[in-house]
């Protein structure tokens, strides 16, 4: 909403407030002023000029040579390129030395050999957006009506010396969608009166009701419809003051009748529509729901197909307006219009909203109806427009209004006690102070002991409950005056849940291990949504995505991590270690909330360790990732429940990938990105992991309990086993552990050999075994007895021989 300072000052005394001061006060009281524009501040030296003569430029077809009276003794010669320049026009002239917006300086110049002492300006050259220029001047220079004098300040004549406050209105403050509404707000802030226009239209003897009949067939959608008839109007431009104020308010001037309806709309916030009475033909207005599929051409010449969810104004036969949104081409005011019907109605916000949405049409009118207009202004606005049509379009107002329906809701009464007001705000206000605030708002109040009852005018439809009164008091009392306190009463121990703590532990661990945390988008393309998913499901799709790239919900964190690694790799950062924790969204069926699982995923590519001057390099491989995962799980104290199993899910290298098991249940995958896929995204060898983090974090962790340090020496035995190549080390380890019993405290692989010195199809795996007895010193004999059992079990279960 653009508020002209000059226009506003007609309703409330703001002479002692600079536009900036006023803007600051309005902002602090609750309506944000986003900016204050002062167009004249970036211009100077622009005066009214009178074009005395115009002749063709001798050397240029498209230029005119003009002699312009600028209020000095001698007229000045100006070369003008506008097509519409002519003798006898009053125009805006930027004199030599003038400055136009954008610090555009006007200098004396020679154009094709002819001297030019200034520039005749268009409105857009004077900083008025061309979409707001009256159509006839949009393509050329502006012509003043004759009520100006050469030499006078053209910026003042055009109201360019105004200040325009841009208000950013929240949806509840539709009351401020009008000059009078803003005036009430400013009056409350400054503690002043509001001066409303006096309304006394001069009426002719002829009865309006003889000219038009009105019927409402949809009273729920349109409780009241008021019309006035103005005859004998002369269509022409509206006066300069009205055109310029409209442009300052962001409205394009058309002609006097249309401008008047727009002016009153901006003034009162009540949308009006002017119909050409004669083009109605039937002398009748019927308001009804549109028929399903009914066709209608709006005044922007677009054919609209209507539905029964939309309200139309008809002449009893066919639609003449889409109620509250836009008029029809068939009844629009034209240059030939003589008799006008002014519509002022109250349309239900939902019905206007539906129509505006269905046709993608948002107008100043629909915006106001959607948010709710003040029913108390329906009649006044109609009267105001009729009066202005007499004054500015030479019309005659017929006697009376034609009114269908009735809508005069009682102003709401809302009560609150002083005690509740103070306890909600933390203040110590007195009743007198509270009463004063409401009187500044022009609300009437009634006090009964501790309770104040406020009668809220219908213009403030946003105030309905005691808390709304609290807000009015708080904002006008000033939030700066509210003290700083902290909540009293029962104090609570704050903290993170074990789950949340666990998540932080995992993140810290990975960062300590060299991973940077990534955050990627949850929305992705259809292709990516299914990539690397743990099980085949239909990805969850958005109903109306903004792009194909962000149309589905991810089922894995990996696709975007691969993308991030490729992004870095393409920018000379070939060694990447990224991890992410975040949700994936698994389809559980139509209209059911998807299952959200928190995952932990990561990618490593390039060098894992690198120490250049010592020539040390270690590329990331499968075991790098595995080590990291084992570290995470060990950190959570869950290592004994973790295992790995060879797997070949889609997207991974079939020989270098494992399923991660927790309590024998699959919770994720680690492995090498499939080389063909890696090639597709321009990545070298890359290793990935993704785990169900929620399973790990929800797993019951053991309480930490001290285990005594062994007091007796341990005995180590190393064994090198020869087995088939396909035998997995984990199975050998399992056999060793089982046979080793309680004396065996540790077993680990320390060497693997497959090569020339082995029989074909065989490999050697060497284990180090550690035996200890916590209660006494182990003897060699005891160890040997157990060790023999281990070897026998290995032979029996894995056909493992000791390497010679």
């Amino acid at each position: 909403m653009f508020v002209s300072y000059k226009w506003l000052s007609q309703y409330v005394d703001i002479a002692d407030q600079t536009p900036e001061e006023l803007a600051e006060k309005i902002t602090r009281a609750g309506i944000e002023v986003e900016g204050v524009e002062m167009p004249a501040a970036e211009m100077k030296g622009i005066v009214v000029g009178y074009v005395k003569t115009r002749e063709q430029h001798p050397n240029a077809d498209k230029l005119s040579k003009c002699l312009v009276d600028v209020g000095e003794e001698e007229p000045v010669q100006i070369i003008c390129g506008a097509k519409n320049v002519d003798a006898g026009q009053y125009v805006a002239v930027a004199r030599t030395g003038a400055v136009l917006p954008g610090n555009f300086k006007i200098k004396r110049a020679k154009l094709r050999g002819e001297e030019s002492n200034g520039m005749i300006c268009s409105l857009s050259e004077l900083g008025i957006e061309s979409r707001l220029n009256p159509k006839e001047y949009a393509e050329g220079i502006f012509n003043f009506p004759n009520d100006v004098t050469p030499g006078e300040d053209a910026l003042a004549a055009l109201n360019r010396d105004d200040a325009i406050l841009e208000l950013s209105l929240t949806p509840n403050r539709s009351d401020a969608l009008s000059m009078i509404g803003v005036a009430y707000e400013v009056a409350a802030i400054l503690g002043r009166d509001v001066k409303l226009p006096e309304l006394n239209p001069v009426e002719a003897d002829e009865q309006a009701s003889d000219a038009i009949q009105i019927r409402i067939d949809a009273p729920e959608d349109n409780p009241v419809y008021v019309a006035r008839v103005v005859k004998g109007v002369k269509i022409g431009p509206s006066p300069l003051w009205m055109q310029t104020l409209l442009m300052n308010a962001g409205v394009r001037p058309h002609n006097n009748v249309v401008d008047i309806t727009n002016y009153v709309l901006m003034e009162y916030g009540q949308p009006l529509h002017a119909f050409d009475l004669d083009r109605l033909q039937t002398g009748e207005i019927v308001v009804r729901r549109a028929e399903e599929g009914e066709k209608f051409v709006t005044l922007d010449n677009a054919e609209r197909t209507l539905s029964a969810e939309q309200l139309v104004i008809t002449n009893g036969q066919e639609p003449i307006a889409l109620a509250g949104v836009m008029g029809g081409a068939n009844s629009e005011v034209t240059e030939q219009t003589v008799n006008v019907l002014i519509e002022s109605a109250y349309f239900n916000s939902q019905i206007v909203r539906a129509a505006s949405k269905a046709h993608g049409l948002r107008s100043e009118a629909s915006a106001r109806f959607e948010k709710g207009v003040d029913p108390a202004r329906v009649q006044a606005s109609c009267d105001r427009a009729a009066e202005l049509m007499t004054e500015l379009a030479g019309g005659t107002v017929l006697s009376g209004s034609v009114i269908a329906g009735e809508y005069a809701p009682e102003p709401k009464k809302v009560s609150i006690t002083l005690d509740r007001l103070n306890t909600r705000l933390g203040t110590e206000l007195q009743m007198g102070g509270v009463e004063d605030i409401f009187s500044r708002l022009k609300f009437t109040t009634e006090t009964n002991g501790d309770e104040i009852t406020v009668t809220v005018p219908t213009r403030r439809g946003d105030i309905t409950i005691p808390e709304d009164l609290t807000e009015e008091v708080a904002r006008l009392y000033g939030y700066d005056h509210i003290p700083l306190t902290l909540p009293e009463g029962e104090s609570l121990p704050g903290g993170l849940s074990p789950y949340q703590l666990g998540r932080r532990v995992v993140r810290r661990y990975l960062e300590g291990a060299g991973f940077n945390q990534a955050v990627t988008y949850s929305l992705t393309s259809e292709k990516r949504a299914a990539q690397f998913s743990f099980e085949k499901r239909k990805p969850v799709a958005l109903a109306m995505p903004m792009s194909e790239e962000r149309a589905y919900l991810r089922e894995s964190l990996l696709p975007h991590l691969v993308e991030a690694a490729a992004y870095n790799s393409a920018r000379q950062m070939g060694s990447v270690a990224l991890y992410e924790t975040g949700s994936v969204y698994l389809n559980e069926g139509e209209n059911v909330q998807p299952k959200e699982e928190e995952r932990l995923a990561g990618i490593i590519t390039g060098m894992w360790q690198e120490h250049l001057w010592q020539g040390e390099k270690k590329a990331a491989d499968f075991f790098t990732v595995k080590g990291v995962i084992e570290g995470v799980v060990a950190r959570l104290g869950l290592m004994d429940r973790l295992s790995f199993q060879k797997a070949a899910p889609e997207g991974f290298h079939p020989g270098r990938t494992a399923s991660v098991l927790f309590d024998e249940q699959p919770i994720g995958v680690i492995g090498q990105l499939h080389p063909s896929f890696a090639k597709e995204v321009d990545l070298k060898e890359a290793y990935l992991f993704e785990l169900k983090l929620d399973v790990l974090l929800n797993a019951a962790r053991k309480d930490l309990a001290y285990v005594p340090i062994p007091r007796f020496p341990f005995i180590s035995r190393d064994i090198a086993l020869v087995v088939d190549r396909t035998v997995e080390s984990a199975s050998l380890e399992g056999i060793i552990k089982e046979a080793g019993g309680s004396l065996l405290t540790n077993v680990h692989v320390f060497d693997v050999y497959e090569g020339d010195r082995m029989e074909a199809g065989k490999k050697s795996v060497a284990f180090a075994l550690t035996y200890v007895n916590l209660d006494k010193t182990l003897t060699d004999e005891e160890v040997t007895a157990v060790h023999e059992k281990v070897l026998a079990a290995l032979k029996e279960k894995a056909d493992a021989d000791l390497r010679a």
């Binding site: 902002t27 609750g30 944000e32 949806p171 509840n172 306890t423 909600r424 933390g426 409950i465 808390e467 709304d468 609290t470 807000e471 708080a474 904002r475 939030y479 509210i482 003290p483 306190t485 902290l486 909540p487 009293e488 009463g489 104090s491 609570l492 121990p493 704050g494 903290g495 993170l496 949340q500 993140r507 960062e511 300590g512 291990a513 060299g514 991973f515 940077n516 945390q517 990534a518 955050v519 988008y521 949850s522 929305l523 969850v540 958005l542 109903a543 109306m544 919900l553 991030a564 992004y567 870095n568 920018r571 950062m573 270690a577 975040g582 209209n591 909330q593 998807p594 120490h611 001057w613």
Partner: protein, 344 residues
């Protein structure tokens, strides 16, 4: 015999002193003090001495032996010292060469900001509540006083999945779910961090995915001044003790009264490009929980009141670290991420 011994002592001490290395010195030890050495030989000849001479000569042998031993030990210390000096000199390195790097990862700046805010409020007795990102229309809007068709729904352009399911537009549904769990009994004191989604085109200042952290306190007699005091404490801890806050009236359907909260700019009010010359930076939205929201969540609004606030981690991080484009948070450029592995 005595002379012989003295001669040996002199000879051995000289040889010990002349030894070039530990091996030579050891040879001297063996040559003079070994089982076959001359001193032992002398001792063997003791039998021929008289009973009177024997103890005298025995004492002398010991003196000579000790003298030789001492000479050898002295020399050994000095030789060992030389050897270690030599070794140390050889082992000397260029300490200015780069160390073997231990890879250093780090928090994403959004996590960093989130954890900082979490910790700050945990210190004030809050717990951290989380909830689903795909929400039911009811929890995201209706229970927050935003019935279907409410014009304020336009303030948050929404990604719908079905008419009843959507990507949450704020973390407020977590507040609703938490209040419902409390079944009408206070106090409630939570913060809700998490990802949220709006139907926005991505550019330098807009992102269809971003993070929010909201706070909610519900109790008996919670006041607007408590909100102000809490946010003042937050601003001072987050941005510096010299910072102030300013409340401006605003509108949110779920709070009444509603305010926007500005924090004074680091320029100290002089005006800079960050605060656009105003001296204030908009950081938060807040307000007193709307009685409809309390009632729908099962709280008696005549007994209970509450405040709520919400802010965006992206905005805070951009202000705190001077980041100029919101898209950086989601590109995961290492040159961006690595800057945040440093502990402040």
């Amino acid at each position: 015999m005595e002379e012989q011994l003295r001669g040996l002592q002199e000879e051995a001490v000289m040889k010990a002193a002349a030894a070039q290395d530990l091996k030579e010195l050891n040879d001297v030890r063996i040559a003079y003090l070994g089982k076959k050495g001359p001193v032992t030989e002398v001792l063997k000849g003791m039998g021929k001495l008289t009973a009177e001479e024997r103890p005298k000569m025995g004492a002398l042998v010991n003196v000579v032996r000790e003298a030789i031993t001492k000479a050898i030990e002295t020399k050994q210390v000095s030789l060992e010292s030389e050897a270690i000096q030599k070794q140390l000199a050889e082992e000397s390195i260029d300490v200015t060469l780069p160390g073997r790097p231990v890879k250093l990862g780090g928090h994403h700046p959004l996590t960093r900001v989130t954890e900082e805010i979490e910790d700050l409020f945990i210190g004030m007795g809050y717990t951290v509540a989380e909830g689903p990102e795909v929400e039911q229309d009811y929890y995201n809007f209706e229970a927050l006083n935003l019935p279907k068709g409410h014009p304020a729904r336009d303030m948050q352009d929404t990604f719908y999945i079905t008419p009843e399911l959507l990507m949450r537009t704020h973390t407020s549904p977590v507040q609703v779910r938490t209040m419902l769990k409390h079944a009408g009994k206070g106090p409630v004191k939570i913060i809700c961090p998490g990802k949220v989604y709006r139907r926005d085109s991505d550019d330098a200042t807009h992102s269809h995915q971003f993070n929010q952290i909201e706070g909610l306190v519900v109790g008996e007699n919670i006041r607007m001044s408590d909100l102000k005091g809490t946010l003042d404490a937050f601003a001072k801890k987050m941005f510096g003790t010299d910072r102030e806050i300013r409340l401006r009236p605003s509108f949110f359907p779920f709070t009444e009264p509603s305010v926007e909260v500005d924090v004074s700019c680091m320029c100290g009010g002089k005006g800079c490009s960050i605060c656009k010359g105003t001296g204030w930076i908009e950081v938060l939205g807040a307000g007193m929980v709307h009685p409809n929201v309390l009632e729908m969540a099962g709280f008696d609004s005549t007994v209970y009141s509450g405040f709520a606030f919400g802010m965006g981690q992206e905005r805070i991080a951009m202000l705190k670290y001077g980041i100029d484009d919101i898209r950086h948070f989601y590109t995961n450029d290492l040159r961006f991420l690595q800057q945040f592995s440093v502990h402040e």
